[in-house]
Symmetry: C2
Subunit: 335 residues, 2 copies
DNA sequence: TTGTAAGCGTTATCAA
DNA sequence: TTGATAACGCTTACAA
């Protein structure tokens, strides 16, 4: 910028005014400055800019588990897009591995002075965040799941997990099923709520809670779900239907059923590509990941622009049931 | 940092030395400084740090088309992971829309002084990049496709598109097919190479080039591929097999075949989730997106660490054929 | 071993 | 309308 000033024969302040269109500059000098900028190939350094007091970095941090999961990828896509429209760039950080990775990633992002954070939290404890948020004054929005810490009152955008699971289970009940298993991926917030919706639907239908029909997996991978499905379907008194809490467990059910050459009524939580092309098209309760990411980014940008304090807002997005076939299979003639 | 210095009763330089472990500091003062850091909750400002001469921002830029595409998502995941291990953060930018979006996004990233760029280019022209790279001295690595510009000699990581397509087509030939259609998504570099491999395989088998068997789509969406497949299979002399150049066109073929209740031998380029769970499991040529992202990030970090100049390196990753059923279907008894 | 000061690229204030 | 200057938070060369 100094080079531009020298070349145009003006002061630094004038160059700044031309670039930002602030203050008043005679058209003549402005033209000279623009020419110099062109010749030198000058580009404003946003890093230096955000060093000034009262300026933020115009950069958001996005922390999530694994971009390979299409659900997270959609959140990221939407957040990046919304941020971009507002002139914000996005630092994407993944914390797939150990629990400590999440807080390390956040420290890293804060060190780069992000103006705000969208966090899709894993299972780790977020009490450290409370301390951070007081100190740093960086707004945080949680997406898909709330923070796992007591006094953390942040904005949060969730899907209607319990409602969706309730609807899925009701759907199976409406098709005559009485023994409905639930395949629960490890204790993330979401799966817990989904289990709740499942239980409520059974209770409301006057069915007893058969705890051996609820399988809580130790890991949420496809193979684990497949193994559990094998055991369920091979048991003495197998369920006639399965409610599966994530798209990965749903995939596991499909694999097991295929291997056993055995049909089973199925409703899964979360939609996935090609669900309608499978031998029995898969009925799902679909939550809108794109909307989740979009709303999270919007809330965050609002906070950054507006006042930082004020109570945490909670947005719950509706989910929708997509009937494709697997959820409409009747139970076998007699059980 | 000044506050820390004041509190610890030392100079700024001493604080810096303690933080970075550079120079020599008596254990006694160091302890005082660390205490002050803890009490104040001080965190180094990486932005300010990278303002100093000789320091880079320890941030990479990643520009790609659409995170919703699992292939891109895998590239991003790998790049973020590799970068993270080296202490680099990643600014992710998507340029899905119009052609201008790509260059705008790059300007944006350069303004934030990224230390290097991984670009998965769309169709836009990259001649502007040549100018940029001279001026900015920012290393660039292209992933999945090279730049579409003449004098741009950058590092690039590619899959063996032509070889893979050649192999896919040979596979269909080996199973007795003589009329093999090719479904080509719009003129990205990759699909062009894949078409080339297809043609070469036919030529080597002594088959004539039947241009009505090659359908180049105007858009690469699933629906377009489904429509084209409809027309192909409904024609007077339909092909007995299809080679599909992307996972989206492959999905289109599957949709059309399903709707027509008609089987067709199929080998697709690029693997996708649940390909093995479909009614006829889909044979694919799989390229390794994770490795693509990893190598791109590695090459970039090398450039950043080492000398910037030197000829562009070209890494071509092998692809592998995964036979699952659809590619092994025989042609109908008589054509 | 430690403190001081200059400079990185901005922008805002102030004076001319 | 314009230019000089201070300040943002850091590192490093130099001096003490």
């Amino acid at each position: 910028m100094r080079d531009v000033a020298t070349r145009a024969g003006v002061g630094l302040g004038t160059v700044s005014r031309v670039i930002n269109g602030t203050g008043s500059v005679s058209e003549e000098t402005a033209e000279r400055v623009r020419a110099a900028i062109g010749e030198i190939g000058f580009r404003r350094n946003e890093l230096a800019r955000s060093l000034r007091p009262g300026q933020n970095s115009r950069t958001l941090g996005l922390l999530l588990g694994d971009l390979t999961n299409p659900f997270y990828a959609s959140i990221a896509k939407a957040a990046v897009e919304i941020a971009g429209r507002a002139g914000y760039a996005v630092l994407v950080s993944t914390a797939d591995e150990d629990p400590g990775a999440e807080s390390r990633a956040i420290e890293e992002l804060l060190g780069r002075r992000v103006a705000g954070l969208v966090i899709v939290p894993g299972q780790s404890d977020h009490s450290y965040l409370e301390r951070l948020m007081r100190h740093e004054q960086v707004p945080v929005v949680f997406a898909d799941r709330p923070a796992t810490a007591a006094g953390l009152d942040t904005d949060v955008v969730l899907a209607d997990n319990e409602g969706g699971a309730h609807r899925a289970t009701q759907h199976l009940l409406a098709h005559g099923h009485r023994r409905i298993a639930a395949l629960v991926a490890p204790s993330y917030y979401t799966t817990g709520r989904r289990l709740r919706g499942y239980r409520r639907a059974l209770r409301e239908a006057g069915l007893p809670a058969e705890e051996n029909l609820v399988v809580t997996l130790r890991r949420g991978a496809t193979e684990d779900a497949a193994g559990a499905t094998h055991r369920l379907l091979g048991s003495a008194n197998p369920p006639s239907a399965v409610f599966s809490t994530t798209s990965f467990t749903t995939e596991g059910v499909l694999r097991a059923a295929r291997q056993l050459r055995r049909g089973v009524a199925l409703v899964g939580f979360d939609d996935f590509r090609m669900a309608d092309l499978l031998p029995v098209p898969v009925t799902v309760v679909a939550s809108d990941a794109v909307e989740l990411g979009r709303r999270a980014a919007e809330l965050l940008l609002e906070r950054i622009g507006g006042q930082q304090d004020g109570p945490g807002r909670r947005v719950v997005l509706p989910v929708r049931l997509v009937a494709r076939g697997s959820g409409e299979l009747p139970p076998p003639g007699r059980q």
